[in-house]
Amino acid sequence: MSVETLIALLYVLVLASFVGFELIAKVPPTLHTPLMSGSNAISGITIVGALICAGPLPGSFPTSKILGIVALFLATLNVVGGYAVTDRMLQMFKKKK
């Protein structure tokens, strides 16, 4: 990775962190758990990394590929389960209102 790329990525990291800080303000307590659950599903974004690691044809680096497949399984669970659970919570929320 070149220094330019690294700097560009660091910019992305820092600015995205500031956005993250600013996004959460004055959240009503009832939404704390759904918000946590919703952002947990987003942290399953590592599924993108898992896809890249699981992607190559078998043969070149089998261990890497197997690790990638297991990562893909776990990340998919995180993503699908995370969004489904969050949606269920929020559905409940609406009915109560």
Binding site: M1, L9, L13, A16, S17, F18, G20, F21, L23, I24, V27, P29, T30, L31, H32, T33, L35, M36, G38, S39, N40, A41, I42, S43, G44, I45, T46, V48, G49, L51, C53, A54, G55, P56, L57, F61, T63, S64, K65, L67, I69, V70, A71, L72, F73, L74, L77, N78, V79, V80, G81, G82, Y83, A84, V85, T86, D87, L90, Q91, F93
Partner: protein, 280 residues
């Protein structure tokens, strides 16, 4: 070239949808829609990643995704409303575990490919995502165990706990430096993974069940940070952006939750407070 640009643009759209989604999740009237936007962003990110020139073996990928989705949907549907926090903890642990595996997979490929020398920046990304991801994995599993009653929910404290954790952490720092400086020695990497997994357990066991929601929120932030660092290994912006969003918003949410419960984050993390009895 076209394909790369398409992927990058789609990642940009996904990132915007994630930001809008989190924002909307913070308001009662828009929360459910916000979750849908964020899920749509994830779908876009996954679909365009399938176009990546390194992704070739679709059979295994689709089989894994379908199987895991079926399990995830089934579990999410069956779980009782009261069990939601422990479910979140479990899923969060899996996310952290996935980051560890992604980092290890890339590490393995680079170390065993004679043509590639692992750059220091990549090494830093590897050790950070392995360390944070592993702590998230075991920490979340302990939190899940405590909330579901599979593990004693009380604070488990013993003498010398904090010094032990400090020593373990120091060991992890040293091992991390070793992995970065001498990536070809697999032993350092394995010890780093093992020590990080152990630290995750040790930092969560002294915390009582009542404080678990705060801990889960904090671990959720960690899993974002772990995903963020895998982005540095893979040079992938959507991983960095979404990971940083979750990492930062998770910390703020954790603070807000602490305040709502009249607790300070430090006292939650040090553990053993506000507990009916600490078994020592």
């Amino acid at each position: 070239m076209d394909r790369t640009i398409l992927i990058q643009l789609a990642y940009l759209i996904a990132s915007v949808l994630f930001v809008v989604g989190i924002k909307m999740l913070g308001k009662t009237s828009t929360a459910r829609q916000g979750n849908t936007y964020s899920a749509l962003a994830m779908l876009i990110a996954v679909v365009v990643t399938l176009l990546d020139r390194n992704v070739l073996s679709y059979t295994e990928i689709f089989a894994t995704i379908i199987l895991a989705s079926a399990v995830g949907l089934y579990v999410a549907k069956k779980v009782e409303m009261t069990q939601m926090p422990e479910m979140v903890a479990l899923f969060n642990g899996f996310g952290g575990g996935a980051s560890v595996l992604v980092a290890t997979s890339e590490y393995w490929r680079m170390v065993h490919d004679a043509d590639i020398v692992m750059p220091i920046v990549t090494g830093v990304g590897v050790v950070l995502s392995v360390f944070i991801g592993a702590v998230t994995l075991t920490g979340s599993l302990v939190a899940y165990g405590k909330l579901s009653g599979k593990v004693n929910g009380q604070a488990i404290t013993f003498g010398g706990q904090h010094p032990l954790n400090a020593v373990l952490f120091l060991g992890i720092v040293i091992l991390s430096v070793m992995v970065i400086l001498d990536p070809n020695n697999d032993l350092y990497m394995m010890m780093l993974i093992g020590a990080s997994l152990l630290l995750g357990i040790l930092t969560v066991i002294p915390i009582g069940g009542a404080d678990m929601p705060v801990v889960i929120s904090l671990l959720n932030s960690y899993s974002g940070v772990a995903a963020c660092f895998t982005g540095f290994i893979l040079n992938n912006q959507v991983l960095i952006i979404s990971g940083a969003l979750v990492g930062a918003s998770g910390i703020i949410l954790t603070q807000i939750m602490c305040k709502a419960m009249n607790r300070s984050l430090v006292s939650v993390l040090l553990g053993g407070f506000g507990q009916t009895s600490g078994s020592s």
